[in-house]
Amino acid sequence: MKLFNRHVHSQAGEYLDGRLYGAARARFERHLATCADCAARLEDQRLVKSALSTLRELPAPRSFVLNEAMVAAAAPPPPPRRAAWQPFAAPAGALAMLFVLLLGGDLATSGGDEDEELADAAFNEGTLDTDELASDEAGGAVEPLTEQEAPIIEADAADGDDSGADSAGDGDDTLDGEAAPESDVAPEEPGEDELAEQTETESLDQNSPPAGEDLPGEPIEELQQIDDDDDNFRLYIRIIEAVLAAGAIALGFLAFRRWREQSAD
C-alpha cells in the first residue's frame, strides 16, 4: 500500500501533462481528493506550467538552409583528423616514462648492489652506518693480523738483544697480543651479524670470507633463496621494461605515421 501511495504521489506531473488515462486517472483523482500534498504539488506544477507558457515560440531569425559551400566547408571533419595521432602520443609518452623510471630504478639497484645492501644491513642493525661497516670489514680482516704479527716479530728480534728489557716488553706484547684477539672479536661480531648481506653479495660469487665459515648452513641456503628470488625479480623487471619499451616504440610509431599522413593531406 505504501508503494502504491508513493507511486500515486509522483503522478501529479503526469496527470497535468495528460498522461494518465482511464483507471489510473480515476485513481489519481480519488487520491487527489484525500491528499493535500498531491493537491498542492499539482497546483504548483500547474502554476509553473502557466508561467512557462508566457515564453512564446519565436520565429527563426533567418533561414538556416544549407548551401554547397557550407557543406563543403564542413565536409572534412577536422576535429577527429587533427586529433588522429594524439590518442597514441599520450600512452606512448606514459609508457616511455614508466620505462625510464623502471630502468633508472633497476640501474641504481644493480650498479650499487653491494653498497646498497651494506647500507641496508647497517640500517637493519640500527647501530652502524655505512662508513663504520666498511672500515670494520677491512679492519676485522687485516688490522688485527698485523697487530698480532708485529709483537711476535718484535719478540723474536728482542730475544736476541736484551732479555731484561724483553720480559717487560714481552709482557706488554703478550698483553697486546692477547688484547688483539679481543679487539678482533669486536669487529667480528658485526661481521657475524652482517652475515646476511655478506653472504648475499659475496658468498655466492666468491669464496666466503673467514667470517662466513662460522655460519651454520641453513641461513646461507635461505639467503641463496632470497638471492634467487631477487634475480627472478630483476628478470621480471627487465621483461616488463622490454614490453614497455616495445609498446612505447609501437605507439610512438603509430602516432608519427598518423601525423605524417595528416600533414601530407
Binding site: S10, R19, L47, V48, R56, R62, F64, L66
Partner: protein, 243 residues
C-alpha cells in the same frame, strides 16, 4: 485581474481557475488531443523519413526541406537553453550542418527527435564551454523585450503585452538557473509539447528519468519564481492584481 486573465487565456494551460478548472481535469480531453497529435506526427514522421532517405543519397535540397520544417523548433530550443539569440543562431546552424554530415547515422523512426538530440548536445557543449569561461556566461543574455513582435490575434493591449514580457523575462532567468538536463526536459515538454516518449529519445534517457527531470525542474522553477515574487499565493504575478 482582468488583465491577468486575458494574458493567461492565451495559453493552453489556464491558471486563473487553478485546480478547479473542469476542462483541464476532464478525463476525456487529453486522450483525444493526444490521438490527434500522434496522427499528425505520424504523417510528418513518414515525410521526414522520406526526405532523410533522399538526403542520405546526397540530396541537399531534400535535407533543406527538413531544415525549413524544423529550424524554428531547433532555434527556440537553443534560445531557451542558452538564453542568447546569437548563441542560439550559431548552435542552430551548427546543428543542421552536423546533422547533414551525420545523416548516414540516422536509422529512421523519429527524425525530429534525432535532430533535437543533436541540437541539445550542441547546447550542452556551449554550456560546458561557458562553464570554463564563466565571465562570458552572461554576455548577450536574452531579454524578452528583445524579441521581435509577433502578429498575435489574441494580443490584447500594450500593457498586457508588457506584463507578459516581464513575466517571461523572469521565467527565462529562472530557467537558466536550473540544471541543464532538467531545463532541456522542461523546454521539450512544456514549451515544445513533445510527448514523454519523444523526450526520452531526444535526451537518450528512459521515461522514468524524463518524468523525474520534469518534476524536479518544475519544483525548482517554482522555488525560483516564488523567491522573485513571480509566483505567490497560487498565482502568477500576484503584484499585478491590485491594478
Amino acid at each position: 485581474m482582468v488583465a491577468q486573465t486575458t494574458c493567461i487565456s492565451e495559453s493552453p494551460h489556464v491558471l486563473a481557475n487553478h485546480g478547479k478548472s473542469d476542462e483541464s481535469l476532464s478525463p476525456t480531453s487529453p486522450p483525444a488531443t493526444l490521438a490527434l497529435s500522434v496522427e499528425a506526427a505520424a504523417t510528418s514522421t513518414e515525410q521526414a523519413d522520406q526526405l532523410a532517405a533522399r538526403a542520405q543519397n546526397g540530396d541537399l535540397a531534400a535535407f533543406n526541406e527538413l531544415v525549413l520544417t524544423y529550424q524554428q523548433q531547433v532555434y527556440n530550443l537553443a534560445l531557451r537553453m542558452l538564453s542568447s539569440p546569437a548563441a542560439a543562431e550559431d548552435v542552430t546552424q551548427d546543428a543542421f550542418i552536423s546533422a547533414y554530415r551525420r545523416i548516414d547515422t540516422y536509422r529512421g523512426g523519429n527524425f525530429k527527435a534525432w535532430l533535437l538530440r543533436i541540437a541539445t548536445n550542441a547546447c550542452y557543449d556551449v554550456l560546458r564551454q561557458r562553464g570554463r569561461r564563466p565571465a562570458t556566461s552572461l554576455d548577450g543574455m536574452f531579454e524578452e523585450s528583445d524579441a521581435p513582435p509577433i502578429a498575435d490575434p489574441h494580443a490584447a493591449s500594450p500593457e498586457l503585452e508588457a506584463e507578459r514580457k516581464e513575466v517571461a523575462a523572469a521565467v527565462q532567468r529562472a530557467l537558466s538557473q536550473i540544471p541543464a538536463d532538467q531545463r532541456a526536459a522542461i523546454i521539450l515538454c512544456d514549451l515544445q509539447g513533445l510527448a514523454y516518449e519523444e523526450i526520452a529519445v531526444t535526451l537518450d534517457v528512459n521515461i522514468g528519468t524524463v518524468k523525474s527531470r520534469i518534476n524536479r525542474g518544475r519544483a525548482r522553477l517554482r522555488e525560483l519564481l516564488t523567491s522573485t515574487g513571480e509566483l505567490r499565493g497560487g498565482q502568477v504575478r500576484p503584484k499585478s492584481e491590485p491594478q
